[in-house]
């Protein structure tokens, strides 16, 4: 359990409020028409939405892992964070070296997975 405070308040409640606010912004960024603002900063609305979704997704991810999953503030937080980060190598390989850099995958992979009887 947490032995610290966030702005003098219970960290779980503060984390909960923060997550709710970030989710409202996230949904709003998709539902609202941001084209005028996107034009003003020289981007397309899709690029702006993508940036906002990443910008909100990462802090939400960290907030849940650090506070709700106790990867921050406990005596064993450090070693468990290292344990949790262990698959990072696998994730990097999957996302960057396969997800983003295998041009043949969309056409080749389905063929590998199809049974011979596929028409």
């Amino acid at each position: 359990m947490a032995h610290y405070k966030i702005f003098g308040k219970d960290p779980y409640w503060m984390n909960f409020y923060g997550l709710m606010i970030l989710t409202v912004i996230e949904v709003g960024a998709v539902g609202l028409d941001l084209s005028a603002f996107a034009d003003s900063i020289g981007a397309t609305e899709k690029q702006l939405t993508f940036g906002i979704l990443w910008g909100i997704g990462i802090p939400k991810f960290i907030m849940i892992a650090a506070i709700f999953m106790h990867l921050y503030g406990d005596a064993d937080s450090k070693i468990l964070t290292m344990t949790a980060l262990f698959p990072a190598f696998f994730i990097i390989v999957m996302i960057f070296f396969i997800g983003l850099t295998s041009p043949g995958a969309p056409t080749d992979l389905p063929a590998w997975c199809r049974p011979p009887s596929w028409l």
Binding site: F61, A65, L100
Partner: protein, 380 residues
């Protein structure tokens, strides 16, 4: 199995166990469940071939698998129901010295889960970047009515098209965050010392246990309820849809319902998918004048019409990823049902509250995955 020496604590092999001895808790129930899962998956793979019912007799194997899994769960729960936290094995070697072994095991399990979801995300990214987007293809004019073109249609194109379509996914996001919080509250309540609990709620110390049981049960039950809401809304979004009566109809372009993804034709078999977004005669969606399609139609080199798309790959990545997440929510619901029952029977207190924490790790992980699934499968 009864007491020849002090480590023999399996008085009843089918449970409940006698936890008052200092021996590790060995259970054969996970092995029974593994056999059940094996029978279930092997049989299930034989029931359908390419979406067609191939072997109805394999359903017997499916049912047998279910029965074995259920038996394993019941045995496991019967053995655990008496666990009061007297014995919690700790790591003895580096790097996990003095850390609860169950906690380490849960993190290692979560690592394997991370790899499962990473594979799904990697597949999604590869296909989304490698196959031309349907909207871009439509606006490029490189299609002819009546001939199927292969393209990637993100589910977000349908879901993020209006507030009504976003609603189930958005409510689900809030439901999972609230459920993550209720499980933390259950842990906090169970872990509080009797003295502190008595002071906080201004109750007699003799009444703490019953008051705590109700409260922990309430928090765990709320988590279960929110998980049920999550899967119900997913069912509505995938298969059922919902009406938009009265003034909501006007806000929904005159339509009186929000169709499910299935009714919209967004399925893993959609080899000739059509959508109002890809119809040049649609009165609701206007083609940008600077698009190649608009210019070709103005020049008379493109007749317009309705684009027909093969979107099987995009639909498959969506359903497999969000479906895998849904299965994790369902598995959590099974665990939560047991834990709620145990809590209401007074099964959780300061000595064994960590059991809630370890389940909570799994539940927060499910929330964590949704934090990535929601924006990139539902919104973008």
């Amino acid at each position: 199995m009864s007491g020849e020496h002090e480590y023999d604590h399996h008085i009843e092999p089918w449970g409940p166990h006698d936890w008052s001895h200092g021996a590790p808790h060995n259970s054969f129930a996970p092995l029974v469940m593994s056999i059940g899962f094996g029978v279930f998956l092997y049989s299930f793979a034989n029931v359908f071939v390419m979406g067609e019912l191939a072997d109805i007799s394999a359903m017997a194997g499916v049912m047998l698998g279910f029965i074995i899994i259920t038996m394993g769960l019941i045995i496991w729960w019967r053995q655990d129901i008496s666990f009061d936290g007297v014995y919690e094995p700790k790591g003895v070697g580096a790097p996990f010295r003095n850390i609860d072994l169950r906690k380490v095991a849960m993190w290692i399990f979560l690592m394997s889960e991370m790899m499962v979801f990473t594979s799904l995300f990697s597949t999604y990214i590869r296909y989304r970047l490698g196959i031309q987007n349907c909207e871009d293809l439509f606006l490029s004019g490189e299609w002819v009515e009546g001939t199927t073109v292969t393209c990637f249609e993100p589910a977000a194109h349908l879901i993020a098209s209006s507030w009504f379509h976003i609603a189930p996914g958005a409510v689900n996001t809030f439901a999972l965050i609230v459920s993550s919080f209720t499980i933390v509250l259950a842990l906090k309540t169970a872990k509080m010392s009797n003295k502190k609990y008595s002071k906080k709620y201004s109750i007699d110390i003799a009444d703490v246990d019953s008051h705590r049981s109700r409260k922990v049960g309430l928090y765990l039950g709320s988590t279960l309820l929110l998980a049920t809401l999550f899967l119900t809304l997913k069912l509505i979004e995938w298969f059922i849809g919902f009406p938009t009566p009265g003034p909501l109809t006007e806000m929904n372009h005159g339509y009186s319902e929000i169709k499910s993804l299935y009714a919209e034709g967004y399925t893993i078999h959609a080899s000739a998918y059509t959508n109002v977004h890809y119809d040049t005669t649609s009165k609701y969606f206007h083609i940008p004048v600077d698009s190649a399609l608009s210019q070709a139609m103005a020049a008379g080199t493109h007749p317009g019409g309705i684009m027909m798309a093969d979107i099987r790959v995009s639909a498959s990545t969506f359903y497999v990823t969000t479906g895998t997440h849904g299965v994790h929510v369902f598995a959590g619901m099974i665990g939560l049902s047991y834990m709620t029952l145990k809590a209401l029977r007074g099964g959780y207190g300061p000595s064994n509250a960590v059991s809630i924490e370890y389940f909570g790790l799994y539940w927060h992980f499910v929330d964590l995955v949704w934090v990535l699934v929601f924006p990139f499968f539902y919104l973008y």
